[in-house]
């Protein structure tokens, strides 16, 4: 019998995601933008990026005080009231209740990291309660001298002996909707993304992989989409310090035959 070759069509675009670090309700490490009055205000900065063509936003709260939950809730509420693209909130989400508060204040997704590693059931609980699309699993990884990539916790301060691929696959099976993969070897170095491990995860998992850490030039983004087949790329300081403007990056990617939303 003749089998018909399926030629799938797709207009789905690659996503560019600025990440805003938040402390006590203010953005960290943002510098002055002429276009906006207060780059320290996460909502103003987020709205500016949305206007520039960012496809999603990630707000990562690094506040360590007991007031954290309240400020995060207020922040989500203000973002939802002003920004018309999807946004993820992360940083210290450790229970269904934390996530529920964020959802009810307009967050489209939450990112979870250490809490999910310590209690993998949290992924399933969140997926069952709010849907997998709500659950972004953030994994911080480091390549050790044995060549393997290992999971790190607590913002990279705590090593584990769990392989990145093992944890990512388990998290997918538990119900994670996307993986946000940050290479500690590459983060901040601006020498490019971790292409090999990104490609491994992106080709092995049926869920989207967001590459993070190392994007310094437009060529780096081209490589992470073309070579590593990432579904999205996240960066912080290169956008905040105006080293790369999002419209320029998208035009560049478009010219290099990468499908982006223009």
């Amino acid at each position: 019998m003749e089998t018909k070759q399926i030629q799938p069509v797709s207009g789905l675009t690659k996503r560019i995601i600025p990440c805003l670090d938040i402390k006590d309700g203010r953005t960290v490490k943002g510098i002055h933008f002429e276009q906006i009055r207060d780059a320290g205000d996460p909502v103003e900065l987020g709205a500016f990026y949305a206007e520039q063509g960012a496809d999603e936003l990630v707000f990562l709260d690094i506040t360590a005080t007991v007031e954290k939950r309240k400020t995060l809730k207020e922040l989500a509420n203000r973002i939802a009231a002003h920004i018309n693209i999807p946004f993820t909130v992360g940083g210290g989400v450790s229970s269904v209740e934390d996530a529920s508060v964020l959802l009810h204040n307009g967050a489209d997704k939450v990112s979870i990291n250490t809490a999910a590693f310590k209690n993998p059931n949290l992924i399933t609980q969140l997926a069952n309660e709010f849907g997998s699309q709500f659950v972004v699993l953030a994994i911080d990884i480091k390549q050790e001298s044995d060549g393997n990539w290992y999971v790190y916790l607590n913002g990279g301060r705590t090593a584990t002996n769990t392989l990145c691929t093992t944890w990512a696959k388990q998290a997918y099976e538990l119900g994670a909707g996307e993986i946000l993969l940050t290479s500690m070897n590459h983060d901040g170095a601006k020498q490019g993304f971790a292409l090999d491990i990104t490609r491994t995860l992106s080709t092995q998992l049926p869920i989207p992989v967001i590459a993070s850490g190392g994007g310094g030039t437009m060529q780096h983004f081209e490589a992470v989409f073309k070579d590593a087949q990432a579904d999205a790329a996240l960066a912080a300081s290169i956008f905040h310090f105006k080293e790369i403007a999002i419209p320029d990056l998208k035009q560049y990617l478009h010219k290099h035959n990468i499908s982006v939303r223009l």
Partner: protein, 195 residues
């Protein structure tokens, strides 16, 4: 104008309320039949799994009410899918407003399922798409889809060309999240409010 968002256990319906606030529309969430019937516009959102969403509707007899509504109704994402007659997602009988079957994306293709992200809509028609340029981008998150059909007012390519928006009489459905689709989504929501 009275705008009601149908309230049932179907994930993130607050997002829709926020999106309407951003275009200056104060919508109320309700599962009360009289409140829904008296609305000028009804929004039927949905995120999550079809059979549990149907069960949630059945708890308040909303599955009987929705097909009888006379005012413009907009189903979003799973809301659009539930307006069809059947979904392959856990073989669920749905509301039957559109005589259509919701299918699962072919996972044998090299594309990821669910589709997550921005994709374009084309072959646009109906007042819902007024002033929306061809090939505008919208934000999608879904594993199930409505195949091409005569009710389509927008088409999108993922695995195959499929109906990303549908219209019949006073019933409208969009597969994408209009509430999260930047200026394009706002235009579509404004168009719906102007129907």
């Amino acid at each position: 104008m009275k705008v009601v968002i149908i309230e049932y256990n179907a994930g993130n319906i607050q997002s829709v309320q926020y999106a309407l606030q951003r275009i200056g529309v104060n919508a109320i969430l309700s599962n009360d039949h009289a409140t829904i019937k008296s609305a000028d516009k009804v929004i039927f959102p949905g995120v999550g799994e079809a059979s549990s969403a149907m069960r949630s509707l059945q708890q308040n007899n909303l599955h009987l009410l929705i097909p009888t509504l006379q005012q413009p109704l907009l189903g979003i994402c799973v809301g659009m899918q539930l307006l069809c007659s059947f979904s392959e997602e856990n073989n669920t009988d749905c509301l039957g407003v559109f005589n259509l079957t919701v299918k699962k994306f072919n996972t044998q293709s090299n594309l990821k399922v669910p589709q997550v992200g921005w994709n374009s809509i084309y072959n646009l028609s109906s007042p819902l798409m007024h002033q929306v340029p061809e090939n505008s981008y919208c934000y999608f998150v879904h594993s199930y889809y409505v195949p091409q059909n005569n009710f389509a007012i927008a088409t999108t390519n993922y695995v195959e060309p499929y109906a990303s928006a549908i219209h019949h009489n006073n019933f409208y459905g969009v597969q994408f999240h209009a509430e999260k689709s930047a200026a394009v989504g706002e235009q579509i929501l404004k168009n719906f409010m102007a129907l």
